[in-house]
């Protein structure tokens, strides 16, 4: 009964979404205020029905309702409660439901935090979001209904893919989807502004906090995925340039460009057309990402079971969304004029560089991801593009970007003087170069690449701090001046320092990691980077829905005990699927990573994979710092102030 309720709620949500995408929009253009006023309530009722549908599916998982096909395929009576809940979005149908729910949540949020936005604009935004919703709900109901019933309910479910039975992966998709879908808000604002013919600074100001919040989720979502791949896949890598990863990285790159170009549009009223285009691309790439991962067209290391038959619908949907918005753009863009001029040496130029580099990087990642698919679709041949391509394009392109981060943030709008910057940043430049060149001497081996990475990180940090210092000096260098610097400026500085931390992580991990597959008998030792790994042996253990072989290793350095590591080799009983659970001793400056291979010969010998990974935590630490910076920027007073001014009369007190 309850699954039918969920199915019914989904249909109602679709009907409401259709109304939502038509009436407010028509109302706004024809000036029918009662239709415009419908935007808020309809969006909220649609959200309500999406919540009902989602709750119904979750309920089916919790009570083991195996008469629902999706539950039977992805759950099991032995599956712990936490993973039964995360299994709701663990496979295709459920993840689409989750996507659509997230979209309704964002739409609901827009209707709540929209006091400063004119009613017409809001109506258009809600309508555009409604259209996207229609697409997703149709897709779900026509091709991938999570509530499909089985005529004969099996006694036991097929269990969730063991890879997904993990905390990191339980929260990774929700974060990622919040990010993907969040860009739909920036997209809707851009489309609505074009429809209304009003592309002004106000539009950019409304979009900025939404874009920033979406960006935070996406940043953390990607980072979680990378962390998960690191400890769960058992290969010790943190980024594989896998098409699935690229699919999430593409919207991030364009979304990052969008955040920066929105800043120019809001503050200086220029780059308008470009910003709109970026908003369209960021969301289109999010859609593409969702579908690439879920449609099964990708040959991927972690391609999950999928059905290419849905490809046609997806393709049509993508063509309508991307084609439609680009057509609208082509029609409206010529009327978008920027009257403001700026000098060659200015913050605008620096941000333009930022945008150009990010977009070129995104384009080359897109090329490497889609070209093999295209050739395959045309039947020309099967090729693949490996990590070397992405690395050799990504690294040199991002070095100039990294060099510009601190400088660009410090430059003045409209016009700046090179002498001023040179004076302000000269000492920082000297310190970064010298320190960057000297620091790798501490390591056992000198690598010029490490010197470059450290130089860049120190440079970003020092120039960012210098920018912050100058801001404070301007304000008189007192304690009060700390409070007068806008929160978004702190946010930006912190996010940029996050980039510096991230660069330290990727550089040192990539260059100084050591990896070895070895055969170890009980009692055997292996020394790597000064760490002595001793293999004590392996024994059988019983888990809730698996049996495991657990290896026991102790690590010591200079005779001092460092860690006991117990990697596992699990066999999940239902799917008969083996899984490697690595054991990791995490540390601020290094991780020790051990994974079991397989039993090797008599006497309890095993093949064991050993890693020492310096500074790998800094990669995720960096992304968390970026996220914190983004959060500060998104909650800047300015966005709330605008709200307060417009809704004068209402006593709205916010700190």
């Amino acid at each position: 009964m309850i699954p039918e309720l969920g199915h019914f709620a989904l249909i109602l949500a679709l009907v409401l979404a259709i109304v939502q995408s038509v009436l407010p929009l028509v109302g706004a253009s024809k000036g029918i205020s009662s239709w415009v006023a419908l935007a808020k309530p309809i969006a909220r009722i649609q959200l309500f029905f999406m919540l009902v549908a989602f709750a119904a599916l979750t309920h089916a998982f919790i009570v083991h309702d195996f008469s629902v096909l999706y539950v039977a395929s992805n759950s099991n009576t032995q599956l712990p409660l936490m993973f039964r809940i995360s299994a709701v979005w663990g496979a295709h149908e459920g993840s689409l439901l989750f996507w659509a729910l997230t979209l309704s949540l964002w739409t609901g949020a827009v209707t709540v935090f929209s006091k400063s936005i004119p009613k017409d604009m809001l109506a258009r935004v809600v309508s555009v979001l409604g259209m996207v919703s229609v697409g997703f709900l149709l897709f779900m109901l026509l091709t991938s209904n999570p509530f499909d019933r089985l005529a004969m309910a099996p006694a036991e479910g097929r269990d969730l893919n063991p890879l997904l039975q993990d905390f990191g992966l339980a929260i990774h998709p929700p974060m990622l989807y919040m990010g993907y879908v969040g860009f739909s808000v920036a997209f809707a604002f851009a489309i609505a502004a074009m429809l209304g013919g009003k592309l002004d600074a106000a539009w950019a100001r409304w979009s900025r906090p939404w874009t920033a919040v979406a960006w935070i989720f996406l940043t953390l979502g990607i980072s979680l995925g990378s962390w998960w791949a690191y400890y769960e896949l058992g290969w010790g890598g943190w980024w594989f340039w896998d098409p699935v990863e690229n699919a999430s990285f593409l919207p991030w790159l364009v979304g990052t460009a969008l955040m920066h170009s929105l800043a120019v549009t809001e503050k200086r009223g220029t780059f308008k057309a470009w910003t709109v285009l970026l908003a369209i691309f960021a969301f289109s790439l999010s859609l593409l990402g969702t579908f690439l991962v879920r449609s099964g067209v990708l040959t991927s290391v972690h391609a999950f079971a999928t059905d290419p038959g849905r490809g046609v619908f997806i393709l049509i949907f993508l063509v309508i969304v991307i084609g439609g918005s680009l057509l609208l753009y082509a029609w409206r863009a010529p009327s978008i004029r920027s009257s403001v001029s700026f000098n060659l040496f200015s913050r605008e130029t620096a941000l333009l560089f930022n945008n150009v580099i990010l977009v070129v990087v995104a384009a080359s990642v897109l090329l490497g991801t889609l070209y093999p698919l295209l050739l395959d679709a045309l039947g020309v041949g099967k090729i693949s593009v490996g990590p070397p391509y992405f690395n050799s394009v990504f690294v040199p392109l991002t070095i100039p970007l990294a060099m510009l981060i601190g400088v660009g943030a410090m430059m003045r709008w409209k016009q700046d003087k090179p002498e001023r910057l040179l004076k302000a940043l000269g000492p920082s430049l000297v310190i970064s170069v010298v320190a960057g060149l000297l620091l790798p001497l501490i390591a056992d081996e000198y690598h010029f690449g490490a010197a470059i990475g450290l130089m860049l990180s120190i440079w970003i940090t020092l120039s960012t701090l210098q920018g912050l210092r100058l801001r404070l000096v301007n304000k008189g260098y007192s304690l009060e001046s700390l409070a007068t610097v806008p929160r978004s400026f702190y946010g930006m500085s912190i996010a940029h320092i996050g980039v510096a931390v991230f660069i330290v992580g990727i550089t040192l991990t990539t260059i100084y990691s050591e990896e070895k597959d070895v055969r170890m008998e009980p009692g055997e030792n292996f020394v790597m980077k000064g760490y002595n790994f001793e293999f004590k042996g392996a024994e059988s253990e019983q888990g809730p829905n698996y049996v495991a072989q657990t290896g026991h290793l102790t690590v010591s350095k200079d005779g001092q005990h460092i860690a006991s590591l117990n990697p596992e080799k699990r066999i999940y009983l239902v799917q008969k699927m083996p899984m490697t659970e690595a054991a990791i001793d995490a540390g601020f400056t290094r991780d020790l990573f051990v994974a079991l291979g397989e039993p090797r010969g008599e006497g309890g010998a095993w093949s064991v994979r050993l890693y020492v990974k310096p500074f790998i935590r800094w990669i995720w630490l960096g992304t968390i710092i970026m996220g914190i910076g983004g959060l500060l920027a998104a909650t800047d007073r300015r966005y709330r102030l605008a709200k307060k001014l417009k809704s004068s009369g209402k006593s709205e007190v916010s700190a």
């Binding site: 079971a305 150009v356 090329l367 090729i383 070397p388 391509y389 597959d517 070895v518 055969r519 699927m577």
Partner: protein, 142 residues
């Protein structure tokens, strides 16, 4: 030309050159790193290059998996049911590697016709077969 126009022209030339260099560079890297896919029968027919990285996929032939006891070196045969190529790999195989399973390996062909794999991929799904393998099997059966 007015100074403002000159400046703008300079600016545009600079941007276009920058993007062109970046694009050229990306395409070069792309060409250098393209990796082709060959089925075992294509390898036997001599279509695959010697000593150059490519990918080969197929089913692991039952009863051909051998390991050396004192090292991590393993051997197995890969087939598309038409021809068979021997693969050599050193290291830990993925969880789902077993005989009768479809896999993809990346590596180089040596002069003796043995495929020296650098990486072996088996999919994390029992019923899953890499699309390339499925297709080359289909072709071979015809």
């Amino acid at each position: 030309m007015t100074p403002a126009r000159k400046k703008r022209l300079f600016f545009i030339i600079f941007l276009v050159t920058g993007i062109a260099v970046a694009a050229g560079f990306a395409l070069y890297a792309f060409n250098q790193n393209l990796m082709f896919y060959f089925s075992p029968s294509e390898v036997k027919q001599g279509k695959a290059p010697v000593n150059k990285l490519f990918r080969m996929g197929g089913m692991v032939v039952d009863g051909t998996f051998k390991r050396q006891d004192k090292s991590l070196k393993v051997f197995f045969d890969l087939t598309d049911y038409e021809d068979t190529v021997t693969v050599e790999y050193t290291g830990i195989l993925p969880d789902l590697f077993r005989e009768g399973q479809g896999i993809i390996s990346r590596g180089k062909l040596n002069a003796d016709g043995v495929f020296i794999a650098e990486e072996v991929l088996a999919k994390h799904d029992e019923n899953y077969m890499p699309p390339e393998v499925a297709e080359s099997l289909k072709k071979a059966k015809k």
